[in-house]
Symmetry: D2
Subunit: 326 residues, 4 copies
């Protein structure tokens, strides 16, 4: 199944990915990880929640840590252009037979809650509380110096179908991995905001969140984080990297918190605003697809992910396997 | 005069700045400068022209060096979303009483040639020849490792009017410098593609091109360029920097070729895709506006620029002065 | 007067520069500057003193901040190979008619206090309290991430004579600046520990301490410090840089505390252990000597320095002038 | 067996490691690898040899590639302080019953050829042809921008004995790995020139050369090399890294040429000139010893090395095993 052609005239205008809500079992531990170690800034905190933003963001939050009995992902949030786009989104999702609901969320205007056909909980909004810029308050920078949330990566039991659905709402494919034997997509990277991706889908039991990515200034910030984590009790939380992805050309590091939520630290992809940008195809068996420098990813990276709260899992019928580290 | 509010529903859809044509008096010298030293890639070359692209670009060219008797700038190019946008643009410019013309340009589809009210020659297109990606052909990287064209900065004899005009066609203000005494804008930064700017305007005799900027990976690439230029005969072509701008937060270097055309090498601004992004105001007398670290710019930086071919100059009536290095 | 030939068999074995004592008028302010902003680690603190070390040092201190009514420099400290070298040093200095004294210093073994012929107070020791390594305790890194003290730079009223004296005790010249008209040395860089310098002398009213330098990992740490200082109230303390010296090839930044004590932040010189290393000559009129990239140093950099406590000043009779920023 | 105490008064004065001669089976291939890819500079070339230096070196060569039928290592070279040290060295080696010989070598003064008790061929010299500095000829920098040869690492069948021998000639231990069960040294790092090592020994079938290391400016140069090698046909030559060693704190990459000769690219160790520098002990079972960030080294890294020309191999009787990647 070929990847979808760019959908240049989508039914409503999504600006970018915006925020994720993670259910975590120990808020204090998670604060130590995301705030003290990664360097995200707390914008609100109460008994059950910590709201965070990255250094160049002016929206109120890009991550909500929510006290939970079991680790899970609550929702993935996206910002749309204006209020009319919200209404158009509601209309469109209902037309697809997907559930929609207007809900109340702190620090946000109208919020449309819905889901994709695989059950991934999504929320759309046009307005979130705006905070003063802090990107030049350099005394606040810590850890890996996270600048902004960059993308979500999800396991899908049918990547071709996920790609078609997100194409229908305007995400455009920048790169993809094909299983040469079946011609099916094994993974796909799709964007709205002009980088390599706002969302990506990888073949596997789904839907699950593979990771949330943050953009940082340079590879040296990632090296700093590795040095910090490995000497402050977070050695076991380092999963993969540093390295350069063939796909996206990004310099990367993957870390996992104690609840299994994975974060990618990421820099140096490329600009993708041209509507006629040609997607780059990679073969599933090409080791440089994963890591340009050749090192395969560990098994955990291919198999582990975070479930979405209350969403049942489905195995993929595409059994093609990438190269996995022994 | 207040800066324009974001124009969220422009008459046609400009994707990004695209290319500049520079009239140069010695093609061989310019090749040494832009190709061998800066590291741009030649995509076409004939007796009178050199076409260049940066490392992550797939459009045929972002810069045309054209043999000329006198240095000047031929045109500034912009990419629009689709062919219908081109027609809408023609209609809009004609409605403003500005000249429009469909012209032939090598390596490009339909090209609409027009100008802004100050006479800056502009061209719009939807399709340019596409070239294979080279961003992972690391043997090709040289010099400062330029990744993409980033923005144009122009002298305007009336920045408020320039800002309004470009706002009318959809550019949104991200930062601006105000002369506190008169309340007038002294400089303004405006974008389409989601960074701090595609175009900027600075008070001064205009219209002239102040500089064309290229995006590079990290500050260390700029340091490499300084080391290279200062030991290969280009010491006199270094004008200002390295430093960090208060405005845009970019790490910068300014260099000038033998014809006086100025290039900014630039990294690390921030993402501006939110339609409700609040512009940041700077006071003309704030020295950190220019350089966050305090060093004022040299006089040449405020006074010298490239004329547009055949376009008469007008002095600004706003006589407010920034802080200039002695 | 030619620069001294390498003295390969000195009368006693100096290992390296070791520490400086700075008289400061406000210990709390200085703590904010050297500890919170630069990132030096406090190893001892009492009502009148703060002892500091850099991140890879295991000796107890490289800098002593001492409460004083007037800013001045108390002493420059050097480590010798063993106790016998201390005795040889005493013998040698007495033989030169210079005052010597065995003094008590906290955290140190035997200390020989003496001075050079211009009156610069010097102290030599073989043993200082050793502290556990902290260079892999990455949570402690702050500010510019200072790794080690690198060198002292001093104004001398007769650089040729200073060079000869320090050559007599084993310092070897790596680079020097000559006034072509008189053939006299205008500045000289001399080392013991295998880098470009442990000590340097610059023509001017002396003896005064021009600066103390710290070694940092990469130019990006210097950029981080500039960002931090310029947004936390230390903008006025930035004097010169960033830039690359022609001499030493180092990437540098100069800052001054409120008492006028100057610190150089420094990285990337080269290894000089070969006894037959040829000194590099620079002409006083060569602007790249100062800054490879061409920018001249400000007047303050050539004129201001810290006096040594109680040591009278003498003007230089060498009136040759370097290029100074207007 | 405890590691040797610092030998502060050795029988002759070794300044630093200097050069290695590698027997290679295809000079043209090796030129592509060491010159075009790594960026070493050719200083002499004839039908059977290529002489190389790194960017800040002024001695004629740090590496000799010699055409050979079988890959092997010809000799490890060291520079001594002066001619008298050469004579003292000859006397000392003869006193140990080791063979000595004065030989002719191009571009060098008197050369003493000898070997260590395990048979490693060594040569000592005081004078080698000196070349003009090129460290500020930035147009010459290529590849990983190698600044200087840094150290040799060798397999030894008895690391305790190797450590004692090299201590006898003045090398001082900076870090070491102990097998806790037997109390024996599993690996040891020893220096002369003031960094973490000039030579290191690792337990294994020996004597063999494990690797030769080059010092580069920053971790970003190592990332550049990985990008270059992985896109120019050298993907298979990348063996391990990038990462940070616990031991030495260095940021590293290991690559192997087609003859199996291994090169380490290396930056950011620390200064070790203090004679009372305390060695740092690591436990063989500590995974952070190898890589601070936790990733174990591949089996090849522990097992493969280059033989010395004509020198028989002996297995180690210390069978303790480090952690090896599966």
């Amino acid at each position: 199944m070929p990847i979808p052609a760019p959908n240049l005239y989508p039914p409503f205008n999504i600006v970018r990915l915006s925020h994720v809500e993670l259910g975590v079992t120990d808020l204090a531990w998670s604060r130590g990880f995301y705030v003290d170690t990664l360097g995200l800034q707390v914008t609100h905190e109460d008994a059950g929640h910590i709201y965070l933003r990255a250094m160049e963001e002016r929206g109120h939050h890009c991550m909500i840590l929510k006290k939970a009995d079991q680790p899970s992902v609550g929702v993935l949030g996206f910002k749309v252009w204006d209020e009319a786009d919200l209404d158009r989104a509601e209309h469109w999702f209902r037309g697809r037979g997907l559930p929609t609901q207007w809900i109340e969320r702190p620090f946000m205007g109208r919020v449309l809650r819905t889901c994709d056909p695989f059950g991934i909980p999504l929320e759309f909004y046009a307005r979130m509380d705006r905070l003063p810029p802090i990107h030049q308050q350099y005394r606040l920078y810590r850890g890996v110096r996270p600048l902004r949330i960059d993308h979500f990566n999800m396991f899908s039991s049918n990547v071709d179908q996920s790609a078609q659905f997100y194409s229908d709402i305007g995400f455009r494919v920048t790169e993809y991995t094909e299983d040469a034997e079946t011609g099916r997509s094994w993974a796909v990277w799709m964007h709205r905001k002009g980088g390599v991706h706002d969302v990506a889908f990888t073949n596997g039991t789904g839907p699950r969140l593979h990771h949330t990515a943050f953009w940082v200034p340079t590879p040296l910030n990632i090296i700093d984080l590795l040095d910090l984590m490995s000497t402050t009790g977070y050695l076991e939380n380092i999963e993969r990297g540093p390295g350069r992805h063939g796909i996206s050309n990004a310099f990367f590091l993957y870390i996992r918190d104690r609840d299994g939520h994975r974060t990618e630290i990421y820099c140096s992809d490329y600009q993708t605003v041209d509507p006629d940008l040609e997607p780059i195809r990679w073969d599933l068996k090409d080791p440089q697809r994963q890591t340009l420098w050749g090192a395969p990813a560990p098994r955990s990276w291919f198999e582990l992910g975070s479930v979405f709260d209350g969403v049942p899992l489905v195995e993929s019928d595409l059994k093609a396997q990438p190269i996995i580290a022994p």
